[in-house]
Amino acid sequence: MAKRTLVCAKLSLGIILLILPAAMLSGGIRNVQAYEALNRLQLQKTEQERIIPLIEQAEEQELPTDYLILRIQEGVAKKIPLQKIEAALQQDMAVLESARTLVYTALGPVRGEGFLKDTAHWNRIATLIKEGIGQQHMLELLQLADGSYDQLRHAGGLLLALHQWEIDDRTSMHIIKSLTQSEISSDEYRNVITLFQEALSRHIPVSEMAERIIRFAAESHSFAQLQRLTR
């Protein structure tokens, strides 16, 4: 009896494995996880008809569909109208396309393609673009990181923090360039924001503190030392 059950289970699994790709092909989505995630959302037929072509298009353009599915999940969870989700997806696709162009320009197509195999890398760059970091500064950041995700993550995190703190991106990039020339570990970059906070307490203009950091970072082997040289 148990043996018969096992045979039935194997047969069922085989049938599912045969049917699933066929079903996916009928929907046109090749990414299994993306397909399953979309299924779990239980979209209505009209919604499917409008969302699935966008995912198909993203796959054709070789954009990371996982990223887009997350956006759909977020939109559905927040009960955002379909039109807005569609618009957000189209905007995200444009951002991702832009991210790829920047990475290929900075690292070249071969290294760029390798770098973008990880969805986290796409996410990081897309987040910075969406927060309003300009193309030129994004390109400089990617060139400075030179394919190191840690450098991109930490330097990008500082650039974003300074951008949100209303320090102009050009000044921020000068600071980041100076930090990358120093011996300061990249995961300490985020501490730089505390120098600006201290400057505000002591009524030192932002431009003056920025200049001190740019001037002294290259001489510093740790953030603590940079702190002593600039305060």
């Binding site: 209303e166 570990s185 505390t194 505000l200 009524h203 002294f216 040289l229």
Partner: protein
Amino acid sequence: MRLSTIIVIICFILSGMVSALPAQTTGFVGIQGIYDITDDTGSIGMRGNLDYRTLIDPDMYLHAAFSGEGEIDLNFTNTSDRLLMQVDSTWFLADDELYAAVTAEGSIGGNEDSSSYLFPDWDITYRKFFGYRAINPFVSYRGSSTQESIVNGIKVGFIHAPKVELSYTVGISGDVDTYFASGETDVLASLDLQLSQLIGLKGNWITYGSFTYRTSQDNTREGISGVLRSEFTYAPTRRLQVHVSPAGYWEYLTQLSQWNISGEIALRTDIEMTPWLFGYLSSSIAVSADALWDVTVTIGSDIAWGSW
């Protein structure tokens, strides 16, 4: 001469000085008003700061700072002033560094508690750097002097940052405090700890605690004492910063079996009105055995100059 005329002349002299300063000099001048709610008294004042820093060569850094503030009460009868000067230098020795500083606090005209004075202090510290996640030790010789006594001491300790958001410093020190008039010498042993933590990208807090034991021939000095102080800073943008700092102080005089406890909490808001014009509003509430409550409010504005 009217006060407004004096202020105009001072501003004119300062603006002339600024144009003559070296390029690496920054600073600010400002005015402030202070109101003591407890005593119902007020004063107005001016303050200023000059800061110069440079690399003498790639291995040596020099910094000099001068700041001062003067106040006059609203009846224009009592004045007070306070000056602070500092010269410090850091010498980079491969990964390590040698730091030396001389600071002096003084007053030309004195204030309601004392006549003119000059209190210097000095510090020479050697810091060993093993790595940014390692335990980095330091040793320092420091001293200070007042009209009453001179203090000399040694401190050893280490700084450790187990992760980027958190660092702490532990130090133990021994000091000798010699009194000029009596020739008496007190010996102090201290343990102190400082914790610093980032809160997201817009906030941070620092907590400092110390414990000191003092032996003395004078029963009004011998005893144990401690400080626990915390500072919380939140700056959502470059234009606004809020700073809250509660502190508690305690002392137990062993020969007199007497406790002295006091505390204070300060709240300060700094605003960047333009890239070079700052405003601030601060208030503090102090509680002690002498004055149950002491509440002051300060409002002021500073014009800064530098490289903009």
